[in-house]
Symmetry: C2
Subunit: 116 residues, 2 copies
């Protein structure tokens, strides 16, 4: 049987064999790309940026981002699932806060790449 997907042979098989054992495991690979997928949306970047400044409830965030509560709530759920924010209910409101101290430094690194 031959389950190779690649449609060619390696030109430098020595390099490939040296690099291969250092490649990330499948699980880690998907955790990494899933994390960046969560960051890869302008609405969610805005939410994280805002929550870096202050805790806020869904309605406040909706006004700040000029979006419906529904749209904001959907995206907050994504951030909550990714454990980047946490929420607490106070009366009729639900307040959200950052739940990861890496977010800020990752945003800063990304800003460095972009060139400020």
């Amino acid at each position: 049987m031959d389950s190779r997907r690649s449609d060619c042979e390696a030109t430098n098989i020595d390099i490939v064999n040296r690099v291969r054992p250092n490649m990330p495991e499948t699980r880690l690979l998907y955790e990494l790309s899933d994390f960046f997928k969560v960051m890869g949306d302008s609405t969610r970047i805005q939410l994280l940026w805002a929550l870096e400044e202050s805790e806020m409830c869904v309605g406040d965030l909706a006004v700040l981002l000029d979006m419906t509560k529904s749209a904001v709530s959907h995206q907050l759920k994504v951030l909550r699932t990714a454990k980047l924010v946490r929420s607490k209910k106070i009366g009729k409101n639900v307040y959200y806060a950052l739940d990861d101290h890496h977010v800020k430094s990752i945003l800063e690194k990304a800003l460095e790449h972009i060139g400020e």
Copy 2:
């Protein structure tokens, strides 16, 4: 005229008004989310990870990732457009290399978030 998209009033208008001036400009916002979009794909993470170890040509990368040259080439183009990799042609081969020293530290920060 009223071009508000949000379907509510702010509960804490003082907080919203304090945070608003610190929000990122539209251009920066999209540069940030576009950058993370590029990182948010397991194939491209693998390519960056591999190129951190060594320059390689498209065929080598295809064998290493067990994908077709076409699929790899398409993704390399995305990375090239994002200025994360550069390429040079040597004979029939095109060799790719990392073109951004931030990639490594951003991956490391992301690994910290995930918890190694």
